[in-house]
């Protein structure tokens, strides 16, 4: 399960960059007469809003991390879910 989460976070990392850049390009070259451009802008906005909410969720979920004790159920959940972020990070 930890591997699945690692791939999930990595996928986020890669797509965040490209979809954010996509939003920039849509913003710069936006044309209100083109349906394709409007759909593309909406898709980019939806994805970027999702990324913002997702990162905020992880941020608040990790607040309790330093207080967790080794071996507890909550620690195990954090290690599986956020091991990707925490594996090289100073305690």
């Amino acid at each position: 399960m930890a591997k699945v989460y690692s791939i999930f976070h990595k996928l986020h990392e890669i797509t965040i960059f490209y979809l954010s850049m996509g939003l920039v390009l849509e913003w710069v070259y936006f044309d209100s007469t083109s349906t394709l451009r409007i759909i593309s802008l909406i898709v980019c906005l939806l994805f970027n809003t999702y990324y913002l909410i997702y990162q905020l969720y992880v941020y608040y979920d990790l607040i309790s991390y330093p207080t967790l004790q080794l071996g507890t159920e909550e620690y195990r959940r954090m290690a599986i879910k956020y091991g990707y972020f925490l594996r090289n990070i100073r305690y």
Binding site: V24, V28, N48, Q55, I63, S64, P66, L86, R90
Partner: protein, 166 residues
């Protein structure tokens, strides 16, 4: 609720939040591009300011458990800052060259060329280093699980505390 579980601004400077807050830095950087599209120098100025704040944050947080990783990532943050500075310098130089009012045009053209090369090398170092680090991380992941790594880091933290206390 325990005090440590309540949100406070100090959470911005905790190591475990390093990657998450980097996302918000990238987000602000990307949004500043279209917002200041008509003001190229302000656009680059904002990127420099954000990257400078990131370097300061890095120095305060020292996010990684190993010294080597901290040094490498710190140097990469500086390389990105150098790239933004060279872009700003290029913008200033191209404005001066296009105005064509100075008798220093040959020097300015040469400076533009040199600064361009520095920026080009900086961005290549930045991108290639991240790619190399990705491969190194994948190899390390195969040798030791994240949970083992986290446990070891925590063990080292408490060991250092005991040594300091003694």
């Amino acid at each position: 609720m325990q005090d440590s579980l309540r949100w406070s601004p100090s959470h911005w400077f905790r190591p475990y939040n390093y990657h998450l807050l980097s996302f918000y830095k990238k987000f602000l950087m990307i949004f500043s591009l279209p917002l200041f599209y008509n003001y190229p120098q302000s656009q680059i100025g904002i990127l420099i300011a954000l990257q400078f704040l990131e370097v300061v944050r890095f120095c305060i947080v020292r996010p990684f458990a190993t010294l080597s990783r901290n040094i490498i990532r710190f140097l990469l943050e500086l390389v990105l800052l150098v790239f933004f500075i060279t872009t700003l310098l290029q913008n200033i130089l191209i404005n001066k060259i296009s105005q064509n009012i100075s008798n220093l045009i040959a020097d300015q053209t040469k400076s533009y060329y040199v600064v361009g090369w520095i920026g080009f090398i900086a961005i290549f170092i930045f991108n290639i280093s991240f790619f190399v680090m990705l491969i190194v991380d994948i190899v390390l992941c195969l040798r030791k699980s994240s949970r083992e790594n986290m446990r070891e880091i925590r063990k080292n933290y408490y060991y250092d505390k005991i040594v300091k206390y003694e």
